[in-house]
């Protein structure tokens, strides 16, 4: 069987070849930085979490199983998300995130068109969410976790995860609406 480029790289990673790890870093660090920055706002903390993640990858590459293209990236993302969560748990208490402030009345009937919104703007919107909302939102939307799983990981009640998520998406929808309104205002 012909090995593809990614498999060759993995073989070299297993040999703990410095050049191979550098290559891995160069290819994936941008995307992983994005993944990490979704959870963690502070740049220095992102640096630390990513550093720990790469060390973890280095030490556990033996346990990685290649399952086709993209599996390496998925594996790396998982490690980064786990490290990010570990960091967040050490530095904040999710149980205290339940925010009872009034939510603006908002109907969820409209689904804003994402096509017109640049990635960087979406990123900023996610990052502007309060930490509790953001963490749950990230896990639910990007990591495709159920509220049960999220509750387990964060050590919160399941309905608490659901309510945080609800608040997150209301806030986000508001932000998107606001963005569009400004955009339209610009053109007029």
């Amino acid at each position: 069987m012909e090995l593809n480029k990614e498999q060759i790289l993995i073989d070299r990673l297993l040999l703990k070849e410095e050049a191979a790890w550098k290559e891995l870093f160069e290819v994936y660090s941008g995307n992983l930085t994005y993944v990490c920055s979704r959870y963690i706002l502070d740049k220095d903390n992102v640096h630390d979490v990513l550093q720990n993640s790469f060390i973890k990858m280095f030490r556990s590459i033996e346990s990685f199983q290649y399952r086709g293209n993209g599996s390496l990236r998925a594996w790396m993302s998982r490690i980064v998300v786990n490290e990010s969560l570990t960091f967040l748990k050490q530095n904040s208490d999710f149980k205290n995130f339940v925010d009872d402030s009034e939510l603006p009345d908002m109907t969820m009937d409209e689904e804003p068109d994402l096509q017109q919104i640049p990635e960087a703007v979406i990123m900023e919107m996610i990052r502007s969410l309060p930490e509790g909302y953001r963490t749950v939102f990230n896990l639910f939307v990007f990591e495709e976790k159920s509220h049960k799983e999220i509750a387990e990981v964060l050590g919160i009640a399941e309905n608490s995860s659901a309510s945080q998520f609800h608040r997150a998406r209301v806030t986000l929808a508001q932000k998107i609406k606001e963005y569009k309104r400004l955009k339209i205002a610009q053109y007029e």
Binding site: E18, W21, G30, N31, T33, K43, M108, E111, V141, E144
Partner: protein
């Protein structure tokens, strides 16, 4: 906002990238790849190459090698002793002769070496430019120089590395020697002539070559250093003096011995109405050493080894034309014990603090005295000092190591030392200035 919408969002953002934090890779690399190398700094390939040689040629050759080693070590010691005499005489022709000798000996020892000699010469000749412009340098200045130097030197090395592993071992010593020389030139620019420097480097190179051979596969690190205290010392006081610092009791001798054929009396008489003084000048101590070093965990390490130190003191007592001149040399062999603690690692640099103790035994000590009357040497005596003191000292230093390649680093260690009283009557710089500042330079290889 349905599930579908979230999927669209996920897909849209899937390949999004953000600028990775600055210096992240450097930190990761340091964490993942530097640590391993701290534990093993000897090039593995080199060991392999040597093993091959040993197994191929067998035990018989090993014996020859060992006797060869002994011969080379003897040669080095001889070279060092001779060299120190040369410092005193400052005699260029002798130096040149010795150099010839060194050349042929080196060729006998290993033909391969001769290739490197030419390289080495190139290096040596470029030194005066650097040392000349930089006689009063600070440590930071010096490190800059080292870096510049390394850039130059590494270029040819990089091409070399793939070609011949054994040559690497030989090439590196040159690199560090060049630096030793640079140091020597800075400390003592007048007394060390160009030729002597070349000779030193050859001696050291042979020594290091031996090191390469003798290295075992244990988790020890072998290094060698040379160093020198930053100060020499001179004192001057009126009257006559002896090397133990006491004034001579003159009164009796002047009046009892009334004849000119006693040079001491002659000097005393000639100087009767002249202002006289005594000057004691301690020359800069010269140290060479070999060391083994072992890492204990990530940050701690201990080392020991063997050092050779030569202390010279010159006494000149009398007036301009009529005087007594004594040269005292004490040769010490010492055993240091050092503990290192690595404070910081940043890229190729490792900063560490070190502290340790050194026991030095004077193995040979003598005083050559010349009586000079009207600028003529009237009498010369040579006195062996029987009492050979044991000298203890403690020292502490901060060190900076720069990794040239994976397993080889050069280091500079500015530090302070304190020498305890040795209860002997010998006057040395240690006694005169027990507290001193010094700088050591060396090459360090770590072995797995």
């Amino acid at each position: 906002m349905s599930k579908e919408w979230f999927n669209r969002m996920r897909n849209k953002m899937e390949d999004h990238t953000e600028e990775p934090p600055e210096g992240l890779w450097d930190d990761i690399r340091k964490e993942l790849f530097d640590d391993d190398q701290d534990k093993l700094m000897l090039p593995v390939s080199e060991i392999k190459a040597q093993k091959k040689v040993v197994s191929e040629k067998g035990l018989k050759n090993l014996f020859y090698k060992m006797s060869g080693t002994a011969a080379v070590l003897a040669f080095i010691i001889f070279g060092v002793v001779k060299l120190s005499e040369m410092y005193k005489k400052d005699n260029v022709s002798i130096v040149a002769k010795k150099q010839e000798k060194a050349d042929t000996s080196n060729q006998l020892l290993n033909n391969r070496l001769s290739n490197n000699i030419s390289e080495n010469k190139n290096l040596s000749y470029s030194e005066p430019i650097i040392s000349g412009s930089n006689k009063n340098f600070g440590t930071s200045d010096f490190l800059e120089k080292i870096e510049k130097y390394q850039q130059e030197i590494l270029k040819p090395f990089r091409s070399n590395i793939s070609e011949n592993q054994l040559d690497n071992g030989l090439f590196f010593p040159n690199l560090s020697i060049a630096r030793h020389d640079l140091v020597a030139a800075d400390f003592n620019p007048e007394t060390i002539s160009e030729e002597t420097k070349t000779l030193i480097s050859k001696d050291e190179k042979t020594e290091k070559k031996e090191l390469v051979k003798k290295r075992t596969k244990k988790a020890w690190m072998l290094g060698m250093l040379t160093g020198s205290t930053s100060q020499n010392s001179a004192e001057q006081f009126p009257g006559y003096a002896t090397l133990n610092g006491a004034s001579m009791s003159l009164s009796d001798e002047i009046w009892t011995a009334g004849y000119q054929d006693n040079p001491l009396t002659a000097i005393l008489l000639a100087n009767q109405d002249k202002p006289i003084d005594a000057r004691i000048k301690h020359k800069i101590p010269v140290t060479f050493g070999l060391s083994v070093y072992r890492n204990l965990g990530k940050r701690w390490g201990i080392g020991t080894g063997i050092n050779y130190t030569k202390l010279s003191t010159e006494l000149r007592s009398g007036s301009e034309s009529d005087y007594i001149k004594s040269d005292q040399s004490v040769h010490y062999i010492g055993i240091p014990v050092q503990v290192n603690y690595n404070v910081i690692k940043k890229g190729r640099f490792t900063g560490y603090v070190t502290a340790g103790a050194l026991a030095e035994k004077a193995v040979s000590a003598d005083i050559k005295t010349k009586y000079i009357v009207s600028n003529e040497v009237k009498e010369e005596t040579n006195e062996e000092i029987d009492k050979k003191p044991l000298q203890f000292s403690v020292n502490s230093a901060v060190g900076l190591q720069f990794k040239i390649v994976d397993k080889i680093g050069v280091y500079a260690e500015p530090g302070v030392g304190y020498h305890f009283k040795d209860n002997s009557t010998i006057t040395t710089v240690y006694k005169d200035k027990p507290f001193n500042f010094n700088v050591k330079f060396g090459l360090r290889l770590t072995i797995d």
